[in-house]
Symmetry: C2
Subunit: 334 residues, 2 copies
């Protein structure tokens, strides 16, 4: 019997269709379609990207030269433009504003062939630092209300370059998904006077069936109502609404859990395309008692078709309890 499950935070329903009870090996990952050739993200080609806004370097203090381990540059083909004042306007009953924002690329490694999942932890942590450093810097710009950090891995998940990278988009408005999470968690808080994410973490630790891995500070779970098979959420165990308030030790603990989760996923479904996104509090928000920052990791294993588009429902063929068990049982070689 299929099951309907409701996401406790935003109220999105999903259908767990257990009829075909899939195993990880049922998912066939097609060969990637990203074309190779000249790579603007490789060392030596620094002059083919806009000048860097941040870099971490082992050697050579000179910006826009090789010697970096991580580099952040403005996107050469940005979705939004950094220059200009925000101008809100109506057109009859419609609303628009000019496309002010920032769009940056985090080049996660100088090595063209190195995947995020297999970055050594002392290098993966730099990605999380870079996200923090760039959010803190972009927050100084009063035009921006939110920075969405995300990663597309694999052509099927929307990546257009092979070289490992993630992205940041600074927005002049709060994205709808963040508004939904803020409203959903606030309405729970008003009712219970507790953070719903803290309650989720408590229940998941208690039950264990949807836990992928955990350490003292972070937990990785398959959520109760996942949109996609093998969807994972990574949350700090201690209530914190803003990603940027973490200290060095907490970023190290995050890296440990993130790295382990990604490697477990990769053992279950080798080379699976995926997206991940950071959901954190709006820029310059005070500490919020009802909201709890987290990452959402979504393997690209299913199609968004008419039903999902039209309804906002998702159909998922793998119960999260099964996915978590497969992920826990995956044999890690490193």
């Amino acid at each position: 019997m299929p099951e309907l499950r409701k996401d406790p935070v935003i109220g999105r329903w999903i259908i767990i269709s257990t009829e075909r009870g899939k195993r990880p090996t049922d998912f066939i990952v097609e060969k990637d379609t990203i074309k190779g050739g000249f790579c603007p993200l490789c060392p030596g080609n620094e002059n083919t990207t806009p000048p860097e806004v941040l870099s971490y370097r082992q050697s050579s203090p000179n910006p826009n030269r090789p010697g970096w381990t991580l580099r952040v540059v403005p996107n050469k083909y940005p979705a939004l433009i950094i220059e200009g004042d925000i101008n809100k306007e109506g057109e009859g009953i419609y609303d628009k504003m000019n496309g002010i924002g920032a769009h940056e690329v985090i080049i996660e490694t100088p090595d063209h062939k190195e995947a995020f999942t297999h970055l050594p932890k002392e290098r993966m942590i730099q990605v999380f630092w870079a996200v923090r450093d760039r959010i803190l810097d972009l927050a100084k710009d009063p035009r921006f209300r939110y920075v969405m950090a995300f990663k597309n891995f694999g052509g099927a998940a929307g990546a257009s370059l092979e070289h490992s990278h993630s992205q940041l988009i600074a927005l002049p408005i709060l994205p709808r998904m963040i508004v939904s999470e803020l409203e959903g968690s606030l309405s729970y808080y008003k009712y219970k006077e507790r953070c719903i994410f803290c309650d989720i973490i408590r229940q998941e630790i208690n039950l264990g069936i949807r836990v992928v891995c955990q350490n003292e500070q972070f937990i990785s779970i398959t959520p109760w109502a996942p949109r996609s098979p093998f969807e994972m959420w990574i949350l700090p165990k201690q209530h914190t609404s803003s990603y940027t308030s973490g200290d060095d030790a907490s970023f190290a603990a995050l890296t440990e859990i993130f790295s382990e989760s990604m490697r477990r996923l990769n053992v279950c479904i080798p080379s699976v395309p995926y997206n991940f996104v950071l959901h954190t509090a709006p820029l310059r928000a005070q500490s919020l008692d009802h909201f709890h920052w987290h990452f959402e990791i979504m393997p690209k294993l299913t199609m968004i078709a008419g039903f999902e588009w039209g309804s906002g429902f998702y159909i998922n063929s793998v119960p999260p309890e099964d996915a978590a068990r497969f992920l826990r049982d995956a044999k890690l070689t490193i």
Copy 2:
């Protein structure tokens, strides 16, 4: 300069990224990946589907035999199951219910090679009748609150069978997208005492720049804030909240506009994969002053990647004014 636009009904923002100003010929439609072989939807194979729940027939009054022009059968691999009582339950802080629902397939033609877009109008109208007839029948079941009618065309849009078909899913809860439209349009109605869709239609007729085609009863437009290039909405000009209240003449007028819109799209981007969905009032709802039924047609031309997943924002490279102009200018051969 890119532009941010807000959907007036549900408040979803999209980015019109005009940097690359795409033309229809910039979209490459890949060869379809649906595998051929035995077709359970073809005449003669009626016994390979569950028994039909509706058919329109030219000859042979016997169900589940050839002679039909359109046939509706339960999905052999349903996302939801028709048998059982609805059982709502909690699991700690989480909510679930058993997966009660109906999942039906509308076989739109007996001809395996005939595409929906090229159905003669006297046959395409049967698809719209079938949607009406099945919604009216499923509405008698008090367990169901909504019927989502939709079509996936092409493997990239989620179709798994080549033979032209659409689908219906009856749900025991209101889908999130419908709730958003009902709430958004109600909040407008409370403020203005007018239906927002009626206001949209008035403004679009007035301006003309986003009109694809129209007749006395229906209009096809590219919406102000489209998620996808060449997205189209088809709406009745006269305020009506429920699809099923249409009479024969109105279904004929709908067919004319739907057929023309699809053929224009197909001239612009031959064989483009697409989804369409019907948004109508909940089952057994009284006539609603604030809600207005419509179809949304979404060509599958872009990727839903991390940013879209994580934010609920969409990036669209074709302004709807350009798309409407290309669609209007398309030379129809029939």
